[in-house]
Amino acid sequence: MLTYILRRVLQAIPVFFGTTFLIYFMVFAMPGDPIAGLFGDKTPNPAVADALRAQFNLDQPFIMQYLLYMKDFFTGNLGVTFSGQQVSDVLARAFPVTLKLVLMAVVLEFILSVVIGLISGLRKGKFFDNISLVVALVLSSVPVFVAMFVAQYFVGIKWGLAPVTVGADTTWGAMFLPAAVIALTVYVTGMRLMRGSVIESRQADYVRTAYAKGLTHKRIVPVHIARNSLIPVITNTAASFGALIAGTTVTEGIFNIPGIGQVLYQAITQSEVPTVVTFVTILTVIYVIVNILVDLLYAVLDPRIRYV
């Protein structure tokens, strides 16, 4: 077990360097001079421009830039943005907001997947199953931003049940609406996975044996059917966690949430290498950690899985 965790962490090291290098290179290769871009239409004073270049290491060759960045990264200096803020400060402000949003969305997604998938699986081909299929089809074919505008219009404006935008007020309650909309647009995959594995496990031999033992339906459904069907749903949820953190740009834009999506978007358009790379690196690390945790969770869910 311990060897397994150690091995996974060691495997994460090349992943870390690989991603940071790739991201660094891609932002570096983007056309345009970031310093010139800072000054807009004005022509910068060459001395000022050179000073700025030196400050951001832009006068160095690519590989040196990367190595200097890495040195800073490991000494805890994440650099400054073009506007002079510490990247670490920006991160500390924006990151918890996004994490809150995504966590809420993922929990909602998981609950929707498991509950609807379980009922659909148990009532395969009956009324609930058919309705759930139609609803799922509609929800998964509507683009996220359309769903968000619709939610804003009805829930926020017409019915007044939730704030239309989030703004500075990033409490759980204020972000419930965007989180719910995200969950509704992504739960379909998990729901179908749950439904499929429920259909499979309710016909399993051990379920018949459980009935033969004298157990009731009420006990068999959660203990022998739902419990055995969770693994694929959990994998899917974990995968969506990573994807959602990286993909909140649209949601944060529409609901005006001051999370990393917005910061990242601005940084990319301005070729702010340190900001982009730092954010992406943090995302990568989170992704790797979540995946290790999920793999460890498998062993809890299915005792046949052993790590060696």
């Binding site: 060897t3 016909q203 399993a204 031999d205 051990y206 018949r208 044996t209 459980a210 009935y211 033969a212 033992k213 004298g214 157990l215 009731t216 339906h217 006990r219 203990v223 022998h224 419990r227 055995n228 869910l301 299915d302 005792p303 046949r304 060696v308």
Partner: protein
Amino acid sequence: MSDSPVTAVDLNQDTDVLVHDSHNVDPNKPLVEIRDLAIGFTTQGGVVEALKGVSFDIFPGETVAIVGESGSGKSTTAHGIINLLPENGKITGGSVKFEGKDLAHAKKSELYKVRGRDIGFVPQDPMSNLNPVWSVGFQVREAVKANGLATNKKDVNARAIEVLKEAGLADAERRMAQYPHQFSGGMRQRVLIGIGLAANPKLLIADEPTSALDVTVQRVILDHLEALTRERNTALLLITHDLGLAAERATKLIVMYQGKIVEAGPSLKILQDPQHPYTKRLIASAPSLASQRISGTHVDHVGGEEAGIDVADLAAKHERAKANQAATPVVEVKDLTKIYSIRKGNFKSEPLRAVDNISFKIPKGSTLALVGESGSGKTTAAKMVLGLEKPTSGDIFLDGTNLAGASRSELFKVRRKMQPVFQDPYGSLDPQRSIGAIIGEPLKVHKVGDNASRDARIKELLDQVSLPTAVAKRYPNELSGGQRQRVAIARALALKPEIVVLDEAVSALDVLVQAQILQLLADLQSDLDLTYLFITHDLAVVRVVADEIAVMEQGKIVESGTADEIFSNAQTEYTQKLLEAIPGAGIEWGDV
């Protein structure tokens, strides 16, 4: 076959079952009365009747066995009694009276009370009938709690341990926290028997309780089951495909065929004096120790009827076998060893000698049977002969060529001469390809002939295995198990091999189909002068196919010799144990 269902004879008077009545029931009143039970399955093509009016009684403390081939409705009957049919199954008529209550029309809540408490159930496959994600202890405790045998945690646990101990798990306390995958098949079946008997039910339904187990384990489990049910005066309904086993264990025998009871009565009487033609065929087909080596019957090739034994042919065969012994063996295995390393965690591993220094020879045109329990290394040995597994050390000679040092391309050429047929006719054929494509693939891979000549060869092969040529256009799921195994044999023969390795090739088949396939193999052997390496755990089958036998135990060959020598005079205790474990070995079978 008579159209009216046969009602089982009341045997209770002439059985000498020890009746120390723990259940307070009248021993002369049936415990279960099944009348005209009909069960249908809804399929795409409408409702298929699986049971067409079955009637029989089970008396307290009595052991009744239902025998029949797969699809005869024997398992459906068992599941129908406690109303545990698959979702598309439904009781369409008749009644199942258990102590006067009709279970076929009972409410769900009433069924919950009867299941487990009054009627226990032991399922067929110990591998799939325990939930893999819960510990064994959890699953036993669950049964104890559900049947109200104990309520507080401590009592439940104590009772669960007791249940497992009674079922023959000596170290139950230690093993309670373990999961099903940490148990062997036999151990798991003990757990399931323990669960089935946990509430001391009046009736125990055992659906093929030992078909997935080795013969020796089977014997131990059945002995134990018999002792437990006798001690508690529990009635036992035993479902099995094995006539010998049924006769040995049950006082009353019910023979089912196509959803109906065709014959019922005292076990020995049915075995020795069967009345119905189907029962007669079953008895004739079941291989037993008294059977003879099947030989080819290419003259009057009927492809499916009983194995006729031609004395002259047998003699000729014997002559040939003698002559062949002088010739160079086709296959010769010398000091073959295979060591696997088993991971123990923490970077440590332990060597496992799966095959340990074995040697054998197979003369041309004869059959060597490699027998042993599961885990004895027989399949690993076969894989190495086929070149599918690399030996750790030792040599395999094929027509004098050593395979050990052969290169990839040499191995490819050698494989033409040597083809396998595997156990599972469902798993060994690609469901997405037509039968013609499956049989023709080896020809394609080895670039034999053009399309037209390949098609001709496919037709010829189908003809050799007695399948209509139209089958070539069909797909594996449209064929029965026996037909699929014929296809697998045709595929093996496509390249005109000299050697066919049959790895448990008939183990998954019903006795009647098994007899047909064994006859086919014998015919092909005499027609094409094939050499067989026959891997099996079933000694009764070995009796009818083998010229020579090698018995394997824990990777070693512990005994070898001609079939007659082994069967008449087994030297090692292990072989004797294997022979004794064959169900029905001690019973005089009817001559039909």
